[in-house]
């Protein structure tokens, strides 16, 4: 191998360092000669291809018939996912299948037929066409002259007063329309500060709406919770918007396992804690609570919060803890809120720092 190898290395390194000689090019041999297809030389093959194409078009027609059969022939009446009538789901699926296959066949038949026709029976001689420059220099020069004349005749250069007022009006006129977008929505970030939670608002189960007795919450259990006053809202008065901010997750953890800062000492009821369910990353509802580790997991991008540790972020893209809702027990033994959240819930936003400061002031 040795000797052989070295000598070739030399040749290729010559190329790599580009000697004058290697700049010289091979001449273009021109188009290769055309080699005829079977269908060009054999009349039998030619006839056969024609028959195939015809067959494909017939298949297309049959596909259309299949569609009409499925559309008019398969009758689906009554409800779906009805245990007393399970047939129906099956029929719907069948109808969908045959409608689709019918269309697919009718399309495939035409498509493959035409393509086969073109490939087997139409001339397959490659042809050559010359390119032309996108535009010639004379034409560019002429266009420039025309433009100069237009500008000159308009007098726009000679009348700066006209020009400047025109520019001004052209900038301002469209802005009137842009202004119209102003009423797309309220420009009121403070809306984000508060939720429906307030002093004495009962925590109720989502979706049943029943209040929760502190005594019923066993260690290790968790509830999806809403504020009781949400029920008084309708779709028109902001039910969904308020619900989207007020959703809360409630769990009970053995107080010995909790790690709580001084100012939040009385925010829980014997280890019953309530946290906003709106992820502080970009706002998905946090649905998963792992009882053993006290971890809350957001299914959207897997941010993980530690409920035993004031819901600080222990993994994932969220950048701040879930806000905690201070809770207490009312005289009937039901869980209630002590106040609203002490900071805005959900994803962070430009005004958030300001709002947090303001809310701290309001709380005092």
């Amino acid at each position: 191998m040795g000797n052989h190898r070295d000598s070739t290395e030399e040749v290729s390194s010559v190329a790599v360092t580009s000697l004058e000689a290697s700049k010289e090019k091979f001449p273009d041999p021109g188009l290769p000669p055309h080699s005829p297809r079977l269908t060009d030389v054999d009349p039998k093959q030619n006839k056969k291809a024609e028959r195939h194409v015809t067959l494909l078009f017939v298949i297309s027609i049959l596909g259309a018939l299949l569609f009409w059969f499925a559309y008019f022939g398969i009758r689906v009446e009554g409800n779906f996912y009805d245990v007393t009538n399970p047939e129906n789901n099956h029929l719907l699926r069948l109808q969908n299948l045959f409608l689709g296959l019918g269309i697919a066949l009718s399309m495939f038949g035409i498509g493959i037929g035409i393509v086969h026709w073109a490939r087997a029976l139409m001339p397959d001689h490659e042809m050559v066409e010359m390119r032309h420059p996108v535009s010639s220099e004379e034409s560019r020069a002429e266009a420039q002259d025309i433009m100069e004349t237009i500008i000159d005749e308009s007098g726009i250069k000679r009348r700066p007063l006209l020009r400047n007022t025109l520019i001004g009006s052209i900038i301002l006129a469209p802005l009137t329309f842009v202004t119209l977008f102003r009423d797309l929505g309220p420009a009121n970030p403070s809306l984000l500060k508060h939720t429906l939670w307030d002093q004495g608002v009962r925590l109720v189960r989502d979706p049943s709406g029943t209040p929760i007795k502190a005594a019923d919450v066993t260690i290790g259990s968790a509830y999806h919770v809403l504020p009781e006053n949400l029920q008084s809202l309708t779709h028109e008065t902001g039910y969904v918007e308020e619900k989207a901010k007020a959703v809360v997750l409630l769990m009970r953890i053995n107080p010995a396992e909790l790690n709580i800062s001084e100012d939040r000492k009385d925010w829980n009821v014997d280890g019953i804690l309530a946290f906003s369910k709106v992820c502080t990353h970009v706002g998905c509802p946090i649905a998963l609570y792992e009882q053993r580790t006290h971890h809350l997991l957001c299914p959207c991008h897997q941010s993980t919060f530690d409920a035993a540790n004031e819901c600080e972020v222990i993994f994932g893209p969220a950048a701040h803890p879930l806000p905690q809702l201070p809770i207490a027990v009312d005289e009937e033994g039901y869980l209630v809120a002590q106040s609203d959240f002490h900071e805005p819930v959900g994803p962070a936003y430009w005004e958030r720092a300001k709002h947090v400061n303001e809310m701290a002031g309001e709380a005092n």
Partner: protein, 562 residues
């Protein structure tokens, strides 16, 4: 005047029916020029030129199926009580939009099929568009004079993403609502104006009661109009520039070799439309997609784990997942009484870098190579190793983000911890592209060497003969001149040293350019020249000897024939 016109008409006597029709149309609207221009226009034919076509046909199918859906879809967030035939949701409060999407699925014959066709067409549209762009990139088809068309293509790609996202949001099920909730969070992260943007977009606080109808007008009017407009501009430019072609015998920078539009090319392309339609109809018939009835109407409380966005928005979602929000410190920074939501902004900027590179690549490449010539002949990807490697790096960068959007599925499927998947993906996000760049460049260079080998020593025929003195050799057949020309007719740019500007100074930018140029082109393989081929033949063998060039048995090395 009138007299004169009649006279001209009488001068030309059409012989056939086709001629008569042509005559009728031409004397009224003057179409003969168009037929003369397009009727026999030459289009080069190659399977990689097909993806742009697939994208165009998918767009047409989207418009057809989407128009059908508009006849039943009700873009309203008004609350209704469902009273359709899908029993599990009977009596449930939901938006009119969701209710009508259920009706389309269950109570309009063929409605489900059309919904599924619309969704599959959207997926195929974005897939074909993406592959088409990769084809254009890797063959260098974006070079002068086609830079602007590349930009138009990039805009089409972005618009396609928005089209898909707005469509996905329309049915107002739990998934689409959650997608919008994420959009709300992303908007709010924008400094200064983010909160306003979100409130303007939703008409107040999320989700509001206006959004679906707003998205609807964007989805069925604004975006399709822009898409069609851009597509028209795109095709217009293709006609002006004429199509590029792959290198090969008879193909020059000044000609186009291929088939005439009529009949062959038109037949193939027209037939292909029906094939694409057939494929989409088949998918719609057999594969359920976006079974909205399973998810339920949008409600801010529940969420489904393990659900996936459509693949083309995955890279944004994946980028969001990849950035560690609280490591090594919190990426929510409060400063001057304002909040900088870097945990969301930074990953988006990193995803945006890719898009920026995409839009500007033609100019980046031109800046480095100083090659401002017109290119109508495409590069074989191996013959532009730096570009191919850069493209591969981009693909890896993009893919890691896209895969990250499924990190939870990967973790459950392969029984590994979610955190480990995230760590690996974070690592690959930054180092994967570098590794890909190095490997792909090596591959290109060795493929180029292999081409040299082929040209110099011919094709291994597999025939092994024994020479009189006992050595076994494999017979090599020289390439015919057509095949050879394909392998030698490329340019291999050399590093371009820093050059002084008009004032005779070498600027800092120029020095950087020279360094990049060196990095790109330092390792290069030049095409075989006639002299080299001659030398290879003379190396003791002559033409015939190459045909029976001795090759020691057992050697797999490419360089061992001499």
């Amino acid at each position: 005047m009138a007299h004169h016109v009649i006279e001209t008409e009488n001068n030309y006597q059409a012989r056939t029916t086709t001629g008569k029709i042509t005559n009728f149309v031409d004397t009224r609207v003057g179409m003969s020029g168009i037929v003369r221009e397009f009727g026999r226009k030459i289009f080069p034919d190659h399977w990689t030129f097909m993806f742009g076509e697939v994208a165009m046909y998918s767009l047409i199918i989207l418009i057809l199926s989407g128009t059908f859906l508009t006849l039943w879809f009700n873009p309203s967030m008004a609350s209704v009580t469902y009273d359709g035939t899908y029993l599990p949701l009977k009596g449930v409060h939901m938006s009119a939009a969701y209710s009508s999407a259920l009706d389309i699925s269950f109570d309009v014959r063929g409605g489900l099929l059309l919904r599924q066709i619309h969704h599959w067409a959207a997926l195929l549209f974005m897939t074909a568009l993406t592959i088409h762009m990769l084809r254009v990139f890797f063959t260098g088809a974006f070079r002068r004079p086609r830079e602007l068309n590349w930009v138009v293509g990039c805009c089409l790609w972005l618009l396609g993403i928005f089209a898909g996202f707005t469509g996905y949001s329309l049915p107002d099920d739990v998934l689409s609502g959650n997608g919008l909730r994420i959009v709300d969070g992303i908007m709010k992260a924008i400094p200064l104006v983010g909160t306003y943007l979100s409130m303007f977009f939703f008409g107040g606080e999320f989700p509001g009661t206006l959004l679906i109808s707003r998205l609807y007008s964007i989805h069925i009017m604004v975006i399709p109009a822009l898409l069609l407009l851009l597509m028209a501009i795109h095709l217009f430019m293709v006609v002006v520039h004429k199509h590029t072609q792959y290198p090969g015998p008879g193909r020059t920078e000044d000609n186009v070799v291929g088939f005439p539009v009529g009949p062959v090319y038109a037949a193939k392309a027209g037939g292909f439309f029906f094939i694409v339609f057939g494929i989409i109809a088949f998918l719609g018939a057999t594969f359920t997609i976006n079974a909205i009835w399973n998810y339920g109407p949008y409600d801010p409380s529940p969420v489904q784990a393990g659900t996936q966005p459509d693949w083309y928005v995955g890279f944004g979602d994946g980028a969001l997942r990849l950035w560690p929000g609280s490591f090594p410190w919190s990426w929510k920074i409060d400063l001057f009484n304002h909040t900088f939501v870097l945990a969301v902004l930074l990953p988006f900027m990193l995803a945006g870098v890719l898009v920026l590179f995409m839009f500007t690549w033609p100019w980046i490449e031109r800046w480095v190579t100083k090659d401002n010539r017109v290119h109508n002949i495409l590069d074989r990807p191996r013959n532009a190793p730096f570009r191919t490697a850069a493209g591969a790096a981009g693909i890896v960068y993009y893919s890691v983000m896209m895969i990250a959007a499924s990190s939870d599925l990967i973790a459950t499927h392969f029984h590994v911890s979610l955190n480990d998947v995230a760590y690996v993906l974070r690592f690959l996000w930054f180092f994967g592209p570098i590794i890909a760049f190095i490997i792909v460049r090596r591959i290109c260079l060795s493929l180029q060497r292999k081409d040299r080998e082929l040209v110099l020593h011919g094709i291994e025929t597999g025939n092994v003969v024994q020479l009189p003195h006992g050595e076994f050799i494999e017979v090599h057949k020289p390439l015919d001149e057509y095949h050879r020309y394909k392998l030698v007719s490329f340019e291999s740019p050399e590093p371009l040293a820093a050059q002084p500007n008009a004032k005779g100074k070498i600027t800092g930018a120029e020095k950087i350019r020279a360094r990049i140029s060196k990095w790109f082109f330092e390792d290069r393989v030049a095409p075989v020249s006639p002299a080299e081929l001659e030398a290879a033949h003379h190396h003791g063998h002559g033409t015939e000897a190459v045909e029976a060039g001795p090759k020691p048995t057992g050697s797999l090395g490419g360089h061992s024939h001499n």
